[in-house]
């Protein structure tokens, strides 16, 4: 009988302790796996989200898009950027907070249905205006899933959450008050027609979004909008890094970052907390697992000293009994490790839901993202755990005095 089969029988003989050991490793392993997914999850997810948006470069006034003020003289800036040879298109994005009224909404326009009563819906209004070199159509930073794209200053697209909350269909009208300068503005309401239902990948989990042209945003803000943009999105025809450098050379006071550079900046600032907490918890989890499995194996070996001495007396080599202990450790950690994967994925989905309640986190961004490297690291750490945890019990069985132990066990 080989060492693994022998270790299996030893475990089966004590089902309660073996099951609890495996379950313990599964729980600790699940947490370890989640921490490994968390360590790079945000970065991987953000990189994917930015790549899917179709825009190569983000131009802003601050260090990072959305931070540090607005781009002034946005229209002429967009035109200058669009005129660069390596630029395909530039899109101005202006964001404002809006309140969609639900108090009846007034009479419907034409045959269109209007919103029923209720408290106002808080939403983010994204107004866009594009410039392209060859007047090619420019894709907005949202995807229309029903209806069509908004045009002019009276049309908008809304997300499905607003549509559901306000019982709105394509063709309905909304009355909203947008605040382009300050949230405390008391502006007259604007009535806009909903021409589409769209998905906004960068809208927060708890954030409802509306999209339209810059003119529609200006109408919603009562015209109280300067020629400013929160962000300029740029598509390049060549290498994004070279285009970003060309934009920085053209307009030195603005920051032009490629998607990779944005991810790099976020890695250094905003996302660092989760990497740190992941590193700390990974260390604690692995130490915890090593300690507990080592104690389990040590106590188990101490209880079977007579049995092990008898096996040695029967002809089992020192190496063989050591391998038995190592196999036992491998079986506990291996079984627990296999269980930890589905358990970890389940736990990750729950933890992801909790963390995505943070304000401003895009709905499509995930904190825990499955990666092959994380799985390999997980397996590597579990193998190391199995070996390290078995070291002390292996030493006990390898240095066991056969005759003295048998005498003690029989006489004692």
């Amino acid at each position: 009988m080989n060492a693994l089969a022998f270790a299996w029988r030893s475990l089966v003989r004590q089902p309660a302790r073996a099951t609890l050991g495996v379950l313990g490793v599964a729980a600790v392993g699940a947490l370890l796996f989640d921490m490994l997914l968390l360590s790079q999850g945000l970065i991987v997810s953000m990189r994917d989200l930015l790549a899917r948006s179709g825009w190569d470069i983000r131009v802003s006034a601050g260090d990072l898009p959305g931070r540090g003020g607005r781009v002034s003289a946005a229209t002429s800036t967009a035109e200058r950027i669009a005129a660069l040879p390596s630029v395909k298109a530039a899109l101005m994005v202006r964001v404002a907070n809006a309140q969609i009224e639900r108090s009846g909404g007034g009479p419907p326009i034409g045959d269109a249905p209007s919103i029923g009563g209720g408290p106002p819906i808080a939403a983010v209004f994204e107004g866009i205006g594009g410039r392209s070199r060859h007047r090619e159509p420019i894709a907005p930073p949202w995807t229309v899933v029903r209806g069509r794209e908004a045009r002019g200053d009276t049309e908008v697209v809304i997300d499905s959450a607003i549509a559901a909350a306000a019982n709105l269909q394509v063709g309905g009208t909304i009355t909203l008050r947008a605040s382009c300068v300050s949230d405390r503005e008391a502006l007259p309401p604007a009535r806009l027609t909903v021409v589409g239902i769209a998905e906004f990948p960068f809208a927060g989990t708890n954030e409802d979004a509306i999209g339209g042209s810059l003119d529609a945003l200006k109408a919603a803000c009562g015209g109280n909008v300067g020629d400013e943009a929160d962000l300029l999105l740029v598509t390049s025809v060549g290498e994004p890094a070279e285009t970003a450098a060309a934009i920085r050379a053209e307009i030195p006071h603005l920051n032009a970052l490629t998607n990779d550079q944005v991810v790099g900046r976020l890695q250094q600032t905003g996302f660092t907390y989760f990497r740190q907490i992941s590193a700390v918890l990974t260390t604690i989890t692995v130490s915890f697992a090593v300690l507990l499995i080592a104690v389990l194996l040590t106590v188990s070996v101490n209880q079977r000293l007579g049995e092990i001495a008898a096996l040695r007396a029967l002809g089992f080599s020192r190496w063989r009994v050591v391998t038995d202990v190592l196999s036992e450790s491998a079986l506990i950690v291996g079984s627990g490790g296999i269980l930890s994967l589905p358990l970890g994925l389940l736990l990750a989905s729950g933890l992801d839901r909790i963390l995505k309640e943070m304000p401003g986190i895009p709905a499509d961004l995930h904190f825990f993202v499955f990666e092959r490297d994380a799985l390999f690291t997980h397996i590597g750490l579990l193998v190391a755990t199995a070996v390290i945890a078995a070291l002390y019990p292996m030493r006990i069985v390898s240095s066991l005095p056969i005759a003295a132990t048998l005498r003690d066990e029989v006489i004692g």
Binding site: G24, A27, G226, Q268, T269, Q276, Q303, G350
Partner: protein
């Protein structure tokens, strides 16, 4: 609301320093405070004369004198970002940021912080302001973060991790106690044979469990207190902040003990129960 009514109120702002140190362009430039990080980064000291403008081009730049360097109030929401901050009197700030053509006194301000004589009046005061001044929103500071503030979310995240850790620890604890109790089956068998009832043995096991769990909880708390300083020192160094990351409060200590001791004692009793159901003879048999 006019800026004059806000007089000396300080407002936090980040502006572009167009020249690190400029010559004294005004007879007596107004005073400003700058954050420690900004001072260190730009080599500024108390008494330095600087120019501030609302844009990088230096449009409408004004001259100020650095009257002091301050440690920014730790802001967890800006963890990882270097706080390059300037504090100046509100009228000075409005002079710098007012767009051309806008009349003084027509600017917006974001917030007004109000200190009440009695903090307990915060809710009633907010209600009064909301009722009397349409267009303004007043909220007690305790509610300002909202239910989904980042740190409430992090608190829930940490709680979820703590629950998983406790579940894993409990499973291991049960496995260990089963083994330890099994090791003592002969002793328990003899105790039963000399006449000690199951209940008496169980009380003894429970007391042992409480003592061991209590010692473990105390050791854990001492370890947590020792590591508290280390963890805070590391993260404060890493993020260059005065923010406290770990704080072992009385409530945290009591909660830990309230979970650990009953859990440890229960695991011991649970593991012993299966053993104690057997007869004394069976237990004492080799």
């Amino acid at each position: 609301m006019t800026p004059g009514s806000l007089g000396s109120r300080l407002v936090l702002l980040v502006l572009v320093i167009s020249a690190a140190t400029a010559g004294a362009q005004e007879a007596s430039p107004p005073d400003i405070l700058i954050s420690r990080q900004l001072a260190a980064e730009r080599g500024l000291v108390v008494g330095s004369i600087v120019q501030l403008a609302a844009d990088a081009a230096g449009t409408g730049a004004r001259t100020f004198r650095i009257a002091g360097i301050y440690e920014p109030t730790p802001d967890p929401a800006r963890l990882g970002a270097v706080p390059r901050e300037v504090r100046l009197h509100l009228p000075d700030l409005l002079d710098v940021t007012r767009p051309p053509g806008q009349q003084p006194g027509t600017e917006y301000i974001a917030n007004i912080n109000i200190a009440l004589v009695d903090r307990a009046d915060a809710t009633a005061f907010s209600r009064d302001v909301n009722a009397r001044m349409p267009g303004l929103i007043a909220r007690p500071s305790s509610e300002a973060a909202g239910a989904a503030g980042p740190f409430r979310v992090l608190e829930r995240f940490h709680l979820a991790i703590a629950v998983v850790t406790i579940v894993a620890a409990t499973v291991f604890l049960l496995a260990l106690t089963i083994m330890l109790v099994d090791e003592r089956r002969e002793t328990v068998g003899i105790l039963r044979l000399i006449g000690l009832p199951v209940r008496r043995v169980l009380v003894q096991v429970l007391l042992e469990g409480v003592i061991v769990a209590g010692a473990g909880a105390a050791f854990g708390l001492v370890l947590a207190l020792l590591s508290e300083g280390l963890i805070n020192a590391f993260f404060q160094w890493r993020y260059d902040t005065a923010l406290v990351f770990v704080r072992i409060t009385r409530d945290v200590a009591l909660t830990s003990a309230a979970i650990a001791i009953p859990l440890g004692a229960s695991a011991t009793v649970l593991a012993s129960w299966a053993l104690l159901r057997r007869s004394g003879l069976r237990l004492a048999r080799r």
